[in-house]
């Protein structure tokens, strides 16, 4: 079946590295949730100002969009830890233990390479915005390196969580794909 597995977090055992990464991802998850909640609050405040007080709003729409983006990117490691990124695990389920293990190593390595690429170019993009002091072309004119910083931060933490997941599978602390043995 595909779809979200039932919120079973990946196992960390007593391994200090895995536990530190798990803690980092959880903190990232708190930040991500807090940012979504602030987005809800700011949107409601904006509606209040616009429709009840008949005032105009300047920064709210932009701030809310950046909060949602940051919440998504910074939430990535936490969702990975909860195994919340949907996948099609039809083939992994039907494989024997040995093949499933190899498949897990393969998919995790592929994911790590991908996220490393995103981190590399994401950092570049952020750095450019910071160096050249890019600003958004709105009245608010926010300095873009602030929202863009979610790219390197989110992908760096995501990369750590993926490396931790790979380590856990290799050390047999966690099952490949989090699947119980058939």
């Amino acid at each position: 079946m595909a779809g979200q597995s039932s919120a079973v977090a990946s196992h960390t055992g007593n391994n200090p590295f895995l536990r530190i990464v798990a803690a980092l991802s959880t903190v990232a998850g708190w930040f991500s949730a807090a940012m979504i909640v602030s987005a809800v609050a700011i949107t409601c405040q904006m509606i209040f100002i616009r429709f009840v007080l008949n005032g105009s709003t300047i920064w709210q729409t932009e701030a809310v969009i950046y909060l949602a983006i940051a919440s998504t990117l910074i939430g990535l490691p936490y969702v990975q830890r909860l195994r919340g990124h949907v996948n099609v695990d039809l083939i992994p389920i039907s494989l024997g233990p040995k093949a499933r293990y190899v498949m897990a190593l393969f998919t995790l390595s592929l994911s790590i390479i991908m996220v490393a690429i995103m981190l590399w170019y994401g950092y570049d993009f952020w750095h450019l915005a910071w160096e050249r002091n890019w600003k958004s072309d709105t009245v608010w004119g926010v300095r873009l390196w602030i929202p863009y910083s979610a790219l390197p931060i989110g992908f760096a933490l995501f990369l750590l969580q993926l490396i931790a997941d790979l380590t856990a599978v290799i050390l047999k602390i966690d099952k490949p794909f989090g699947l119980e043995d058939a």
């Binding site: 979200q4 909640v37 919340g84 990124h85 695990d89 994911s111 991908m114």
Partner: protein, 438 residues
Amino acid sequence: MDPLTLGMVVAICTILVLFSGVSVALGLLIVSTGFLMIFDGMRSLELLPEILFGKLDNFALLSIPMFIIMGSSIASTRAGADLYEALERWLTRVPGGLVISNLGACALFAAMSGSSPATCAAIGKMGIPEMRKRGYPDGVAAGSIAAGGTLGILIPPSVTMIVYGIATETSIGRLFLAGVIPGLLLVSLFMAWSLYSTWKSGNRELLATGSYTWKEKFEILPRVLPFLFIIVGVLYAMYGGVATPSETAAVGALLCLIIAMVIYKLWNPKDLWVVLRDSTKESVMILFIIAAAGVFSYMLSSLYITQSIANWIGTLDVNPWVLMGAVNVFLLIAGFFLPPVAVILMAAPILLPIITTAGFDPIWFAVVLTINMEIGLISPPVGLNLYVINGIAPDISLKTILTGSLPFVGCMVLAIFLLCVFPGLATWLPDAVMGKAL
């Protein structure tokens, strides 16, 4: 390599990568990065973060986390059970009131949450045990809830409709309205089938009417009315020209959280965290797929694949309905394996030009596509709802749930057929409320 052949290679690689078990979003990024690197050179990768960020830089997308919070705060309470009980007490004189109440509760719950598994779980937790206790066949009990739950993505607000609206730049307000009548049509078909199969199974006494005192009927209302109030409020805000879907969703999310805290006493920070955690998990997952699919469709158009496929279909001299049939089969198969959001994001940019060139209405197509996705939700091998039901009622075998759900798949196919014959079922309401589309 000509773009069409390249398109085939991309399709095959995407299937292989996604079936390896890698997450859908990362899979799309991996395929896109691979092809961009080979055909556009390493420098094209510099654009990846900008495209990813740009895809998410959209106020309309905000409605997704908001509607998810709205749905999961309601789902975390007893609201589903209350809704179902209220309907049962009031519909007690209707033959087969119990199964009708369950399906009605599914439809109403769907109007508060945009998610199918959530609807399934919220109503099924109470509904399935109750139906079985009263002697309804297991297949009807499980199948009706599995099918009723799929209404979550058709009846507004619907997360998949928002995603479709964003992917195809169609009005989300119109899409929501388009889902209403087909949603009611499906509920009626589901109800008709449930009554018929209960009657045919020989349990006719189940269809007999029971009775509740007026006191019992009225004492449950205060617990249900706030939600009906929210549904009406959300619809008014959106169609009265008061606010955009995202703004409406934010107010809806806040109100639902407040109701959950005040009426259902969701005060404990731990319980509140569960609601927020689940919402964050789902919205991050969906928004990341949206961002990754943005990169995927950038890759497709950068390599001229999208344009070539649309041109190629344009030169084919096929009957539009044959084309629509083929599109439906494709969507059905994709829906068997992939979550609806992923199918919509990958298929919409390619299918939409084909559909509009062939003279079909994109709003109407959204409804057909959504019903296709609903079928996928109750069909193997993915069938998310089947597993949700399996989680609620572990003693009903997957096979019984599956065979119980099959007739409801029939109802959905019938609904698609009816929509093809009478497209007005989907397009009339949006046109009537918001004026004819330009």
